[in-house]
């Protein structure tokens, strides 16, 4: 069928619109990259002299290094706990009926509606009232609560798309329920589990608002260290940190996309 003139105009204006929106999404990251290589401490565009001094500054500032280590530790522990708890719950949610299921589900999903600052404040008050010191474990607890709904959702989606015939086949061949779970169900769920855990780790790594309420100087995460830096200094060191951040995240996303296909993970196909 031949396209009419109107169709062509629609096609091209649609493409221009989408390109403009993608430009809007990319704009701040392009600008921050320009700023990070600008020798001057005062923002100016286009930069007159190029340099890597802000990258040197970023690596030399110990709060960022400590913050990065804290963030990695918190994300690793938080995502693992959330994955174990979330996967177990998603499995029970899909396969079993038990008393209080809907209520439990409601409570666990509530952090999707409750703003992060309220969750942070709540755990701060709770820990103060219960005399729990503000250690790394408090920060991890906050992160587990925040990322758990995302893990449950992602594992639950994989369970829904799961072909139960494999389990039935294993059982009819004499496998015990435990053996079926370990040798059939878990391996088949692995992609969903990995993507859920990875998603949780990335969310936890980036979590800022709730963390701000519960961290101490010693346990501050990278985003909190970055926030504190902007409030104290006005130089573009943070632009360098941001560029490293953007490049790392984009690479991780690209790898995940190559292996798992994000369309599938996000259920947008």
């Amino acid at each position: 069928m031949k396209k009419t003139l109107l169709d062509q105009v629609l096609d091209w204006s649609g493409r221009a619109l989408v390109a403009a929106i993608l430009g809007f999404v990319m704009l701040p990251f392009i600008v921050v990259a320009l700023a990070s290589f600008n020798d001057s401490a005062i923002l100016s565009f286009p930069p007159e002299n190029w340099s890597l001094r802000w990258y040197g500054n970023a690596f030399g500032y110990s709060d960022f290094g400590d913050g990065l280590l804290n963030s990695l530790r918190i994300a690793a522990f938080g995502a693992t706990i959330a994955l174990v708890a979330g996967a177990g719950f998603a499995y029970a949610l899909d396969r079993y009926a038990f008393p209080g299921k809907a209520f439990l589900n409601g409570v666990l999903m509530s952090p999707l509606i409750i703003p992060n600052f309220t969750i942070g404040l709540g755990l701060l008050i709770l820990s103060a009232a219960a005399g729990i010191p503000r250690t790394m474990w408090l920060v991890i607890a906050v992160h587990v609560i925040i990322v758990l709904p995302f893990v449950v959702r992602s594992v639950y989606v994989s369970l829904r798309n799961f072909d139960r015939a494999y389990e039935t086949a294993a059982e009819s061949l004499g496998a015990s329920p435990r053996r079926t779970l370990l040798t059939v169900t878990l391996p088949l769920l692995l992609p969903g589990l990995i993507s859920g855990g990875l998603f949780a780790a990335i969310l936890s790594f980036n979590e800022f608002t709730a963390s701000l309420f519960v961290v101490s100087q010693r346990t501050q995460t990278l985003p909190v260290a970055m926030y504190n830096y902007v409030r104290e200094y006005a130089d573009p060191t943070l632009a360098a940190v941001s560029v490293i951040y953007v490049v790392t995240v984009a690479l991780i996303l690209l790898v995940v996309h190559k292996i798992f296909r994000l369309e599938k993970v996000l259920n947008v196909e």
Binding site: V25, P28, A92, I113, L124, I145, Y227, V246, L262
Partner: protein
């Protein structure tokens, strides 16, 4: 069922976490009903004073500003996100789809600080926009976007866009294309097909995306704090201020609770409105 013994193993960690959530929520409720003792972190006796304090103008203003900010952000995010989601689902080339998906998702995984800081560099008085426009001679003096509602909304639209695109794309990809084909074969043009078939069918997705965008914006802290710079006061920035500048945790708790109730109420009202629209669209 024979597999029942597994159940305790599967749900006990999440029961523990649910207890933590419930306990911290109860702690907030309890604190919101206690008096603030200046100079002490321990709360005093039971009182309703915190909630009457919230009736003061500055708090009322913060509620209004927050609501306004959320509504504008949700609206613009939908307008910007819909074409992106549409292109993501309908583009013919797989490469293009991947590119759109990756670009729209990257911001989601960058956190609030990197994104907000990047927008400060774009929007600042000596930032990218002002420098460029001054040099091109389009403007004579820098215009201010920092510390304004407009600036905060721009950054928040960017902040909320990825989740809205994902939700809209999920809704659009589940629409039965045969309905569009039927409309076309009956002689409807593309614009008409879009407005009478595709758009109404994606209404549930739009409603879900809009309320998520609202909740997401309501929860934002760093963006209004850093770009609003105290000129745009939201519930989240006020909670932090009341908590950490004056250590009035009882008031911060009641502010949080009222904020939560407020946002649930707005979303409920909004969903009721959308349902009415949907019925309207069905005719």
């Amino acid at each position: 069922m024979s597999k029942r013994p597994f159940l305790a193993w599967f749900v006990s960690p999440s029961v523990l976490i649910a207890f933590g959530i419930a306990a911290s929520f109860l702690a907030i409720v309890q604190y919101s009903l206690r008096a603030h003792v200046p100079g002490s972190l321990d709360p005093g006796g039971f009182t309703l004073d915190n909630f009457t304090t919230l009736l003061k103008t500055i708090y009322g203003q913060a509620f209004l500003d927050t609501a306004l900010l959320c509504v504008w952000t949700a609206l613009f995010t939908l307008l910007v996100g819909y074409p992106l989601a549409y292109a993501l689902v309908r583009a013919k080339s797989a490469r293009l789809r991947s590119a759109i998906l990756l670009v729209s998702l990257t911001p989601l995984f960058l956190g609030e600080i990197v994104r907000t800081y990047s927008w400060i560099i774009v929007l600042g008085n000596q930032g990218f926009l002002n420098s460029t426009l001054l040099q091109l001679g389009i403007i004579d003096e820098p215009f201010s976007l920092m510390f304004t509602m407009t600036g905060v909304v721009i950054a928040l639209v960017h902040f909320t866009l990825p989740i809205v695109v994902v939700m809209l794309a999920a809704a659009l990809s589940h629409i039965d294309r045969n309905l569009e084909r039927a409309a076309t074969s009956l002689g409807a043009g593309r614009i008409r097909v879009f407005f009478t078939v595709t758009l109404p069918l994606s209404m549930p997705g739009i409603a879900a995306a809009a309320s998520t965008a609202f909740a997401w914006t309501f929860s934002a802290f760093a963006t209004p704090q850093m770009i609003g710079g105290g000129q745009v006061q939201t519930i989240s920035t006020l909670v932090y201020q009341v908590g950490f500048a004056s250590f009035n945790f009882p008031l911060a708790a009641s502010l949080s609770l009222s904020g939560l109730a407020f946002s649930i109420l707005v979303i409920a009202l909004f969903n009721a409105g959308i349902r009415r629209l949907e019925r309207f669209g069905a005719h």
